[in-house]
């Protein structure tokens, strides 16, 4: 099914266009490559090319379609249950009286404390690794270790928190034990994001400060940190938004409780949104599926808000050099 002009063989003009456009692009994403005589002779190879293209494209469509179906499924089930009472009610045995108040406040508490612990720890570690640490075996261990920690399953952190914070430190199944566990879980992500932000500060700025006689700490404090803060903050917000959706490590800390109060201090018991949703999914009555979907909508709205905030912070404050 090809045009007669193409069957004549190699089209020099098209080929050079193609090469020129490929050179200016970072990725090899050119239009149809030059069609040699061999291709033109073999219809099957051309058809196979088209079929393969459709299959590769279909894989992308499967991913996007999966996302769309998931969102439609959740929205169609959950929206009828979503109203102001749902935000303001405690969980109940009756589906129509159930709400996310305890879980929402628990999530806010956990996230607030986690941010409080994670931000100084993560930024300090990143500054140390990028600005101070020499390339010796001790610091290489720290780097490799952080990469490996990022791959440890979240429920393992839950077991760690249960053994260390809940039992050894005697914090009990409290908000503070949950927040400390969550801190350890997202710390590698925050460190890696902060390192990237610090790396993007141009070396000339540091050299200028050193030339004026600044010490390493002065350079870090007054030059690197202020310039890296937007990147660090967007990384921190993204890490926190991942933490909000984490149920597994919180289940081992809080256990699956049915709470009808909001935490009033860091030593109170708590539940979080994903645990509450998990509870509802597990209930036999069909109505609770709808309640669970409504809970998911609340969770997704919180996530969307945080991701938008991260993108806003990055675009608004980050400079390109």
């Amino acid at each position: 099914m090809e045009a007669p002009s193409e069957r004549d063989g190699f089209d020099a003009g098209r080929a050079t266009d193609h090469i020129a456009s490929a050179v200016t692009r970072p990725h090899y994403a050119g239009p149809t490559p030059p069609r040699g005589a061999a291709t033109a002779r073999s219809g099957w190879r051309r058809n196979r090319d088209t079929i393969a293209f459709l299959l590769f494209f279909a894989s992308v469509v499967v991913g996007i379609l999966g996302l769309a179906v998931l969102l439609v499924d959740v929205l169609s089930r959950g929206l009828p249950w979503l109203d102001w009472d749902f935000i303001n009610n405690f969980p109940s045995r009756h589906a129509e009286e159930s709400g996310v108040k305890a879980a929402l406040w628990g999530t806010i508490w956990i996230m607030f404390l986690t941010a409080l612990f994670t931000i100084p720890l993560g930024i300090s570690t990143a500054i140390y690794l990028e600005e101070f640490a020499a390339d010796n075996w001790r610091n290489r261990i720290i780097r490799v270790n952080i990469a490996n920690l990022a791959g440890v399953p979240s429920i393992i952190y839950g077991l760690l928190g249960l053994a260390v914070f809940v039992q050894w430190w005697g914090l009990g199944r409290s908000v503070i034990a949950g927040a400390l566990t969550m801190t350890l879980l997202i710390l590698p992500v925050v460190i890696i994001a902060s390192q990237e932000a610090i790396k993007s500060v141009p070396q000339e700025f540091r050299d200028g400060a050193y030339a004026l006689g600044a010490t390493k700490w002065q350079v870090s404090k007054r030059i690197v940190l202020p310039l890296a803060v937007p990147g660090i903050m967007s990384g921190v917000i993204l890490a926190l938004s991942r933490a909000i959706g984490e149920a597994a490590p919180m289940i081992t800390i809080s256990a699956l409780v049915f709470l009808t109060f909001t935490p009033s201090g860091p030593t109170d018991r708590f539940t979080v949104l994903p645990i509450q949703i998990f509870n509802w999914v597990g209930l036999p009555q069909d109505d609770f599926r709808g309640v669970a979907a409504a809970g998911i909508i609340v969770l997704l709205v919180v996530l969307l808000a945080m991701n938008s905030l991260a993108i806003f912070v990055r675009n608004k404050f980050q400079k390109r050099y």
Binding site: H27, F56, V62, G63, V152, V164, G213, A247, L299
Partner: protein
């Protein structure tokens, strides 16, 4: 009245000297410098301490567990019934359940993830890539409890429509949805590896008259293979450690089977199950969590190390 002290011939260049010692340096900044370095160094140690604490905790509770249950019964046993009498502690059904779900997820994400990666790296114009990639990456940001809900309420009914004898809780549903979850990870990492393949290789093949499909499958994929393997390994490691999808959709019946239509229990799902009731510290049930956690930790650690090794290999290649 500091000005009165200045004499014309003490020509001191203003400002401290870079890293200078002695003359003109005040004490306070040096103390601050010293303190700052130690505070930062202490912060950096937290991550190392975390690793040590993870390993120590898992090992300590596991050793205590192996005082009660022989190691060989745990590793070789094919029955896992810790919560009933007579209790039996063979971990193989849990490992098998995890691996079954992971295999389904791996096949799903391999097929669609690599298809998507080839499309994005070899076919899609830049404008299309810039739209599709962020949309796919939204998939990676959705909480796993949401995927679990989706698997149970949407995918499972479809599976049961095709296979009426499938269990409500089955490994297939959990595996398919988990494949959807790790697909963006597999496709992004594979695409990175494909983009790193030098253009000269493609140009050579095009000059010989190859089609785009032939270039993609015979040139780019083989050249990027270590990266693709790494992507798959890291994706599977995520799948093994994933908790909520398998807990919600795959069931809580330890079952050593190759049939994905049956209900199973994954290792992570067992840990959640134990936490659904209060189990006192020091009880055998409490210790089983850590023994299962140790197996899980070792499996993911091995896969992560293998994945990082493969990534380093393809980075060094070109």
């Amino acid at each position: 009245m500091a000005n009165q002290d200045i004499k014309p011939n003490t020509a001191v260049i203003p400002g401290p000297r870079p890293f200078g010692r002695g003359r003109g340096r005040r004490l306070a900044p040096r103390i601050e410098e010293f303190a700052a370095v130690w505070v930062l160094r202490a912060a950096a140690t937290v991550s190392v301490v975390t690793t040590i604490a993870i390993v120590f905790t898992l090992l300590r509770e596991s050793f205590a567990f192996f005082q009660d249950v022989p190691v060989w019964e745990f590793i070789g046993g094919t029955k896992w019934t810790p919560l009933f009498k007579p209790s039996s502690f063979g971990v193989l059904p849990l490992v098998g359940g995890t691996l079954l779900v992971t295999a389904v997820a791996g096949l799903t994400s391999l097929t669609f993830g690599i298809g998507a990666a080839i499309f994005l790296s070899e076919y899609a114009p830049d404008a299309v890539r810039r739209v599709i990639k962020p949309v796919l990456e939204v998939l990676a940001g959705i909480p796993t409890v949401v995927y679990g809900f989706f698997a149970l309420t949407f995918v499972t009914p479809i599976i049961r429509w095709f296979f009426p004898d499938a269990n409500i809780f089955n490994a297939l549903s959990a595996g398919l949805v988990m494949g959807l979850m790790i697909m963006p990870m597999v496709s992004t990492l594979s695409e990175d590896a494909m983009v790193a393949v030098p253009r000269s290789l493609r140009d050579g093949a095009y000059a010989l008259g190859a089609t785009r499909f032939e270039v993609a499958v015979k040139i780019v994929v083989p050249a990027a293979l270590p990266g693709i393997v790494a992507a798959l390994i890291l994706g599977l490691s995520r799948a093994i450690g994933e908790t909520m999808i398998v807990t919600i959709a795959a069931g809580a019946t330890p079952n050593l089977t190759f049939n994905p239509l049956e209900g199973i229990q994954a290792m992570t799902a067992y840990i959640v199950q134990v936490n659904q009731g209060e189990s006192p510290h020091g009880s055998v049930i409490f210790k089983t969590m850590f023994a299962v956690g140790l197996v899980l930790f070792l499996m993911t650690l091995a896969m992560n190390i293998a994945g990082q090794w493969a990534i380093r290999r393809y980075r060094n290649r070109y």
